[in-house]
């Protein structure tokens, strides 16, 4: 019976019970749900079910194929890891919304049509904003609102795009959409907001680092990767995506170098990793799509691991700012080790997960002869090692000794990090099980001499550059600061423009009002002049002049009536 239950609903319905449970029972229950979900996906037969007809369009609630299945697996796995990481936390609001959020993302992944996708898409948006608000700070509240506005924009674009697409094609099935129609363009933009395309990206760096220690771990996995899934489903082989992806890999890393909040640095590097996936989807060959999908899989794990390690640091020291941290390896050795595993994985070191997945995208770009994208992706690979691979562990755990001597992370956090780190290494060492899950058959060997040596050269030399810059003092120090990004335009410039418009309008209103009032004054004065107490019409007339007036009036009436005959 459970096999016929839409996969995402399991968590959404299951989450209803969470507020009524307490302590370990609640955490255990929250862990059981995603594990049940993994089992459910494993036993689901490929195909579709839950079809119904709405407004004359055929809806398919659930479609199981290799693409939806692999995303379903990794979403459930990361949900389970997130629950373990948040085991100690007693906050039913966050724990409930987290499950609804995961469930909505999985529901969207298995949606066979665009209307079902839209419904889950919106639910993901609302749940994730609630998860940000569960950070319960003023900053989280404001950032969540800005995020909500972007998500709502995405929702409106998606709904409009789907309507146009449905009219054009007569179907709402969610298959390849492409850019041939205006509806297709709107849907791409809707996906693009959630995928943090350049200039649409700032909600990510703005809001994710404001969520709670545990909330960010959940957030990092779902919204953006759901968008990657949607792009892979609807826009595989759309060449524009290569260039969008290439810009995404390169431009956030400059920010990552100078950003001080280490969780924000991770948000920038998340953006950069999404770029690799988007570029892979744009290339669109079977190797490239396999690369993008497997990279999403590996990425969810190592990014969660990095956010967990920085979360543990934040939990223990009360800050995640590079300028305040350093030397923590002395008392948090396990967290340090797990962070380094995450760092090596995101940097695509041989034997770590990023290596066996990202190299597919690079190879696919080279196979298709995309020289400039290949070079930029290579540059971004060196750059990601620089800011995520070295900067994150270096400034948190090494660098100058901050004097902080916090306790090691709690056991549940260490356990979650340990399992995630194990998976990162396992995928890197033995990628075949992951390859078997990919949408297309894999004929790819990551561990060739060329791959290993060239990648090591790229990375170790990048490390040498970091060390040289540090020794020569050229490396920009971590400073307490805000770095302006595109959100400046709506948080400051937009606000200033809006304010000046309002001011101009109220000035204009005052002017119009003044003029009208002056006109009114003149009129009132005139009326007063005629009808006021001392005015012509108010005076008591003498009898003689009254009789004269009446006589003249009669004369006029007589004259008019004679002339009329």
């Amino acid at each position: 019976m459970i096999a016929e239950f839409p996969p995402g609903l399991l968590l959404i319905v299951g989450a209803v019970l969470v507020p009524f449970l307490k302590g370990n029972v609640r955490s255990l229950y929250s862990l059981a749900l995603p594990l049940l979900g993994i089992w459910q996906i494993a036993v689901l037969d490929p195909g579709t079910f839950g079809t119904l007809s709405v407004f004359g369009f055929e809806q398919t609630i659930v479609r199981v194929d290799k693409l939806s299945r692999i995303f379903g697996y990794i979403f459930y796995i990361s949900a389970a890891l997130g629950v373990v990481f948040a085991w100690h936390r007693d906050d039913w609001v966050e724990q409930t919304t987290a499950l609804v959020y995961v469930g909505a993302a999985i529901g969207a992944t298995f949606a066979g049509d665009l209307i079902t996708l839209f419904i889950f898409w919106e639910l993901t948006a609302i749940a994730s904003v609630c998860l940000i608000w569960a950070g319960r700070t003023e900053r989280a509240y404001r950032a969540g609102f800005r995020c909500l506005i972007m998500y709502m924009l995405s929702g409106i674009l998606l709904l409009t795009g789907v309507a146009m697409h449905a009219v054009e094609t007569g179907s709402v099935a969610f298959n390849n959409i492409g850019l041939d129609s205006p509806g297709g363009l709107l849907i791409l933009l809707a996906f693009g907001i959630k995928c943090a395309f350049p200039l649409l990206h700032n909600w990510l760096q703005d809001a994710y680092p404001e969520a709670s220690v545990t909330g960010t771990v959940f957030l990092s996995a779902f919204t953006t990767k759901l968008a990657v899934y949607a792009l892979a489903r609807g826009y595989a082989g759309t060449e524009e995506l290569i260039w969008i992806g290439v810009v995404m890999t390169a431009f956030p890393i400059f920010y990552a170098v100078i950003e001080n909040d280490l969780r924000r640095v991770l948000a920038y590097s998340l953006n950069n990793q999404l770029g690799f996936m988007v570029a892979g989807i744009g290339i669109g060959t079977t190797l490239a799509i396999n690369g993008a999908v497997s990279h999403a899989f590996a990425h969810i794990l190592y990014k969660a691991l990095l956010f967990m390690s920085m979360g543990a640091v934040l939990y223990r020291t009360g800050t995640a700012k590079g300028s305040e941290l350093g030397g923590l390896y002395k008392t948090m050795p396990w967290t340090t080790g797990f962070c380094i595993v995450g760092a090596a994985s995101i940097s695509a070191f041989p034997l770590f997960s990023g290596f066996v997945t990202k190299s597919m995208i690079l190879t696919a770009a080279a196979d298709e002869g995309y020289v400039i994208p290949f070079l930029v992706l290579l540059f971004a690979s060196a750059g990601v090692f620089h800011h995520s691979g070295i900067k994150i562990p270096f400034f948190a755990f090494f660098a100058h000794d901050s004097g902080k001597r916090p306790d090691e992370a709690p056991f549940n956090m260490l356990l979650a990090m340990g399992i995630t780190a194990f998976l990162c290494i396992a995928i890197g060492v033995y990628p075949q099980p992951l390859y078997a899950l990919l949408p297309f058959p894999v004929d790819y060997q990551p561990y060739t001499t060329t791959h290993v040596v060239t990648m090591l050269q790229l990375l170790i030399f990048s490390g040498l550059a970091f060390a040289t810059l540090q020794r020569t003092g050229l490396y920009p120090p971590e400073l307490r600061s805000t770095v302006l990004d595109f959100d400046f335009f709506y948080r400051k410039a937009g606000k200033a423009v809006a304010r000046s418009i309002v001011e101009a309008l109220s000035r204009g209103r005052a002017q119009v009002e003044g003029k009208a009032r002056r006109g009114l004054d003149v009129w009132i004065e005139r009326v007063f002049h005629l009808h006021g107490p001392q005015s012509v019409l108010a005076r008591t007339w003498q009898t003689g002049s009254t009789v004269l007036c009446v006589t003249i009036l009669f004369a006029v009436v007589l004259l008019v009536s004679y002339l009329g005959d």
Binding site: T317, S323, H386, T450, F461, L474, T482
Partner: protein, 94 residues
């Protein structure tokens, strides 16, 4: 840069204990070890046949030099960006 312990309950002070990395000589050792590894990796190009797609990938030591120069420039450019993009920490809160 603010130093000193925060008010977090997890705080404890391990005063005198010396760690291997506290000695700057050991940090220098790591740096020079890195230089040696880089030199070896650079020379590795002489000992195997590269299977590549583009001509430039065959240049001797291409990936190492690209990684070094690329990251170096990345940091220098980011450093310059700070000059016009950096604001106070509470910039948006005011």
């Amino acid at each position: 840069m603010t130093k000193g312990p925060s008010n977090h309950p997890g705080q404890q002070n391990i005063g005198g204990k010396k760690y291997w990395l506290d000695d700057m000589r050991n940090v220098h050792k790591i740096f020079w070890a890195l230089v040696v590894v880089c030199a070896l990796l650079f020379l590795a190009d002489a000992f195997y046949h590269k299977h590549v797609h583009f001509g430039f990938e065959n240049w001797f030591g291409f990936f190492g030099l690209f990684g070094f120069i690329g990251s170096f420039l990345l940091v220098l450019v980011a450093r310059e960006m700070r000059k016009f993009l950096m604001r106070d920490e509470d910039y948006y809160d005011r």
